[in-house]
C-alpha cells in the first residue's frame, strides 16, 4: 500500500479511536469519565435534577466560631479561594472516598483541600447533601422557601 493510503488509514483510524475511546471513557467514573487525553466531551450532558453532592461546612476558624456553620462556597475570607471550581471537585472526590472507606485517597484529598483551600485551625465537616440546584439558587436569589437534605459524613480540623 503506498504512503498516501497508509497515511489516510492511520489518520482515519486515529479519528475513529478518538471517538471510540472517548465514548468508552464514559465507563470510567473514577477518572471523571475520561482516559486522558481521550474524553467523551460529555460536558453538561445530564441536566441536574435532584443532585447528591458533598459540601464542606465550616464550624470554626481559629478562635472565631461560626454559628450557624457556613458553606465553604460562601466562606469568603474564612477560606482560600472558595469559589474555585477545582475546590468543588476536590470536595466531591473527598466525600466519595470517605463514604467508600478509601483511606489513602481520602487522606491525599484531605491534605490537598486543607493546604490549598482552608485556613489553619479550621474545624469543618464534610456533609452529604441532596439538593435541587434550581430551587437552591432561587432560595438564595429569589427568596424561595427551600431546605436541602443534609447528613454528616466526617469532621476534621486543619493543622494550626
Amino acid at each position: 500500500m503506498n504512503a498516501y493510503r497508509c497515511r489516510q488509514w492511520a489518520l482515519i483510524t486515529f479519528l475513529g479511536l478518538m471517538f471510540l475511546i472517548g465514548e468508552l471513557a464514559l465507563s470510567n467514573s473514577k477518572g471523571n469519565y475520561e482516559f486522558f487525553p481521550f474524553y467523551s466531551w460529555s460536558m453538561f450532558a445530564l441536566v441536574p435534577n435532584e443532585e447528591k453532592n458533598y459540601q464542606v461546612m465550616i464550624h470554626r476558624v481559629g478562635s472565631h466560631t461560626l454559628d450557624p456553620p457556613i458553606d465553604f462556597r460562601e466562606a469568603g475570607s474564612f477560606a482560600k479561594n472558595p469559589g474555585a471550581l477545582p475546590a468543588y471537585h476536590v470536595i466531591q472526590k473527598l466525600g466519595k472516598s470517605l463514604e467508600a472507606g478509601d483511606i489513602d485517597t481520602s487522606k491525599k484529598l484531605r491534605n490537598h483541600l486543607e493546604s490549598t483551600y482552608l485556613q489553619p485551625n479550621t474545624s469543618y465537616e464534610v456533609m452529604k447533601q441532596k439538593e435541587d440546584p434550581l430551587k437552591l439558587w432561587k432560595k438564595q436569589n429569589r427568596g424561595l422557601s427551600y431546605r436541602p437534605e443534609q447528613s454528616p459524613v466526617a469532621q476534621f480540623k486543619t493543622a494550626p
Binding site: 497515511r7 479519528l15 441536566v47 435534577n49 434550581l134
Partner: protein
C-alpha cells in the same frame, strides 16, 4: 474494505445530496484549486505552530507559580516527575513545552521537530490537569499537534511539490479540521442520548423548559458567581431554551460541516457565539478552541467553493432535505 471505499462511504454519508450532482469543472481547474488549497494548508501549519508558541510564551510569567504549585496529583503521562527531586520534573515539562513550541514554529519542516512540539504540549497539558480536575482547553490543540506529525516530507516546499505530497498535506489538514468538529459532535451526541434518557424517566431534560436554567443554576452555585446573563437565562426559559436547542443542533451536526463547505461559516460563527454566551452565563470560555475553529475553517478553509443562500439552505443537515423537496423542479 479499502481506504478508498471507506473514505468514499464517509464522504457519501456526511455530504449533502446536492453536492453529488455532477459538476462542470475541468481537470485543469481542479488542479489549480488543489494548488491554491495546498498553499493555504501550508500557511495553516505555520499558523498552528505559531499559536502553540504564543501560548507557551504567554505562560512564561506563570512559571514561578507552576514551580511552587503544591499537591500535584500527576496524570499517567507525567508520573515520572515523582521520581525526580522537588520541582525538577515540573521544570523539565515547562522547558520541554517552550522548546518544543519554538522548534515547531521554526523547524516544522522536519518530523522530529513536530514530534518534539507534540511531546511538549502533551506533557504540559497533562501537568496542567494534574491538580484535582481535568480542564479541556488545550486538548484540541494537543490532538492537532499529534496529527501534524503525519505531514508528508516535502510539505513545506515553496515550489509546488508533487501532486501526491500536496494531496497528503491537504488530507492531514482536513483531519486537523475534523478534530474540533468531532469533539463538538461527540458533545452533542451525548447530550441527546442523556436527554432522551432523562425525558423517558420523567426528569427535567434538555428537551424541556428547565434544561438550561438548571445547568446555569448548578454552575452558579458551584462557583458562587453572578455573570450578567446567568439570572436572565434562569428567569426566562422561553428565551434561553430555544438558544440551547439551536446550540444542540449545531453541536451534533458540527462534523457534517466538515463535508459541507456552504454551511461552515454559519456553524463556526454559531459555535464561537455559543462560547461567548457560555462565558456571560456560566463563566466558561474556550478561547483556544474558538481560535482554532476560526483559523481552520473560516480564515483559511480547505475548499474554493463560494456559497449562496441556496447552497447554504440545501446543505443544512436535516433541513436541507426539506429545502430540496420544496424547491425540486424550480
Amino acid at each position: 474494505m479499502s481506504v478508498v471505499s471507506l473514505s468514499r462511504w464517509i464522504r457519501h454519508r456526511f455530504s449533502s445530496p446536492a453536492q453529488r450532482e455532477p459538476t462542470s469543472f475541468s481537470p485543469s481547474e481542479l488542479l489549480r484549486d488543489q494548488r491554491l488549497i495546498f498553499t493555504r494548508s501550508q500557511m495553516l501549519v505555520y499558523a498552528i505552530y505559531a499559536f502553540q508558541l504564543f501560548i507557551a510564551l504567554s505562560l512564561l510569567p506563570q512559571w514561578e507559580g507552576y514551580l511552587n504549585r503544591p499537591n500535584l496529583l500527576p496524570l499517567w503521562p507525567i508520573l515520572w516527575v515523582q521520581w525526580l527531586p522537588c520541582n525538577t520534573g515540573v521544570f523539565i515539562i515547562l522547558v520541554l513545552f517552550l522548546t518544543g513550541s519554538f522548534t515547531g514554529a521554526f523547524f516544522a519542516r522536519w518530523r522530529s521537530a513536530r514530534l518534539l512540539a507534540f511531546i511538549g504540549i502533551f506533557f504540559f497539558t497533562a501537568f496542567n490537569n494534574s491538580f484535582g480536575k481535568i480542564g479541556h482547553s488545550l486538548h484540541v490543540l494537543t490532538f492537532i499537534s499529534f496529527i501534524l506529525i503525519f505531514l508528508p516530507d516535502g510539505w513545506h516546499l515553496a515550489r509546488q511539490p508533487k501532486r501526491v505530497i500536496r494531496q497528503s498535506t491537504i488530507f492531514t489538514l482536513w483531519c486537523a479540521q475534523a478534530i474540533p468538529l468531532l469533539a463538538y459532535t461527540m458533545a452533542g451526541l451525548i447530550k441527546i442520548i442523556c436527554g432522551v434518557g432523562q425525558l423517558v424517566s420523567g426528569q427535567a431534560s434538555v428537551f424541556g423548559w428547565e434544561g438550561l436554567p438548571r445547568h446555569v443554576a448548578d454552575r452558579l452555585l458551584q462557583t458562587n458567581s453572578e455573570p450578567f446573563l446567568g439570572s436572565i437565562f434562569i428567569d426566562y426559559p422561553w428565551f434561553s431554551m430555544p438558544l440551547m436547542w439551536i446550540t444542540l443542533y449545531i453541536e451534533f451536526f458540527a462534523l457534517w460541516a466538515l463535508f459541507r463547505p456552504a454551511i461552515q461559516w454559519f456553524f463556526i460563527g454559531s459555535l464561537v457565539a455559543f462560547h461567548a454566551a457560555s462565558f456571560f452565563t456560566m463563566t466558561i470560555i474556550f478561547p483556544h478552541n474558538c481560535f482554532l475553529i476560526v483559523l481552520l475553517l473560516a480564515a483559511a478553509p480547505l475548499h474554493n467553493q463560494t456559497w449562496t443562500w441556496a447552497s447554504f439552505a440545501r446543505q443544512l443537515p436535516l433541513f436541507g432535505r426539506l429545502v430540496r423537496h420544496l424547491t425540486a423542479g424550480t
